[in-house]
Point group: C2
Chain length 328, copies 2
Amino acid sequence: MSIKIGIMGYGNLGRGIECAIKQNPDLELVAVFSRRDPKTVKILTEGVGVYHVDEVLNFKERIDVLVLCGGSATDLPTQTPEYAKYFNVVDSFDTHAKIPEHFENVDKTAKESGHIAVISSGWDPGMFSLNRLYASAVLPDGKDYTFWGKGVSQGHSDAIRRIDGVKDARQYTIPVDAALKAVRSGSNPELSTREKHERECFVVADDGADKAKIEQEIKTMPNYFADYNTTVHFITQEELDRDHKGIPHGGFVIRAGKTGWNRENSHIIEYSLKLDSNPEFTSSVIVAVARAAYRMHKEGMAGCKTMFDIAPSYLSALSPEELRANLL
Amino acid sequence: MSIKIGIMGYGNLGRGIECAIKQNPDLELVAVFSRRDPKTVKILTEGVGVYHVDEVLNFKERIDVLVLCGGSATDLPTQTPEYAKYFNVVDSFDTHAKIPEHFENVDKTAKESGHIAVISSGWDPGMFSLNRLYASAVLPDGKDYTFWGKGVSQGHSDAIRRIDGVKDARQYTIPVDAALKAVRSGSNPELSTREKHERECFVVADDGADKAKIEQEIKTMPNYFADYNTTVHFITQEELDRDHKGIPHGGFVIRAGKTGWNRENSHIIEYSLKLDSNPEFTSSVIVAVARAAYRMHKEGMAGCKTMFDIAPSYLSALSPEELRANLL
């Protein structure tokens, strides 16, 4: 008996979910839903249908967990509480500041309907959050640091593309090596924004555009670049397409803390990710969470959950006995 | 209302538990139990009594969680199932091959008495196990590797000390750098025992002892050293006491896995620990687990658990709301 998954939204994340389901024999994709005309949406899995969003309620009895692949800005704040009325759902809501509000909204409808709704799954929020929690619970007398990268920031790439004279662009966020070293030394340094990350931009300019002006505009852009050391490289569209098409990402969560009667011993806990594909890794976390959501619902639990509320064994395809014998 | 903790056994681990309790304002040490004459056991916390093991049942109503600090070879196999009849308990049972048997024994008495008994808490088993579970659930198409060190192995140090002509010794387990690099490359190499770890020994020989013979005996010792590249340094007792008195340890759990419709993307998940004091870090994990055991018992759960069964939020002193607002 496989766990039946529906995918709501078929962009990079939806496609990643589809690929991840293929890797997990206990999961089965039963339908993909899109706001586009279903005839125009080509998916990878043979024999699985694409349907218009409006048809999703017809699948109430056929889907165990609906994975919501919309964006955090406008889709998920309404979609997750709405679909939690009818389905167990998982989303990857990642606007950190609005998580408490989103949680309350989703919790209400999920509790009323008796479903499990897991929000903010992925790697940050997600695996990185878990590591912040575990490390701070174990080393309360300490400080943690999160670094992102090296990886592509879609938001920053978009910001560059909006500049006059820019044809295309790709921006990488890069942790500053000296900052990583300082944190790993256990000295718990105070680090400014500029000291933690730098930004590297690959820009394709329109013919005849004023490159010096573009570079200046990038480097002084408030919020996005002004607080960082930023490097700008002008390249051709061919070079961009050849060398910068991937969506790599990753990062580090590091906590340094003290133990001992007189705080005489230091400890460093470090978790890091190095990802070829940000959306595919996020999707891989989400499908494990979907498995957990199914199991928790089956045991009679309901309401909004985050990865903080999920006992790790629920995520694995292995039985508790197998986990204890092989992984403990 | 603090959570009341009792410590059973006062060696390195018991003392570590005492130090960790001091760092967690929601926990309170109420008693230490020892097989030794209580008058001979000096603890660090003022106003807390030391009692003989035989008195522990008098504390049934005064202790929320009893932390068992005995050894895995002979103490815990009998202590954990026995004390789970009367207390919520946490142990750090670390004989990996015997965990399933230990679990069954403990589960029986804990379920009968309605207590929570968490076994195999610490970092391996413990935090490393959690990371093996999370990483394999997220990247099912992959392979994980655990490396230990650089750190002191008590068992290997003891083995050297049993050799004729050896006065004192300290052994370090060290991950081989080339192996770490190969694993981080994502190539999922097959690694022999010798390729993964090397062993470095600091030995104080008796006056006039045959050092060449001692070195030979160490390097050819079956199970302990014969399968490893081993370096032996002869030093003085003064040097050993000065430079090798600490109990550092640590290690790495690394999983490399593939995603994508055609397995076209690679990902590396890495978790590492660098610990000044192995027993103090283990203790720090255990007290967080004790907090979780108390909460789970209060919610009506019972039976044997491992860290796999504990939702992460139970481990933290922060409330679910604080966790979502600050760490997610």
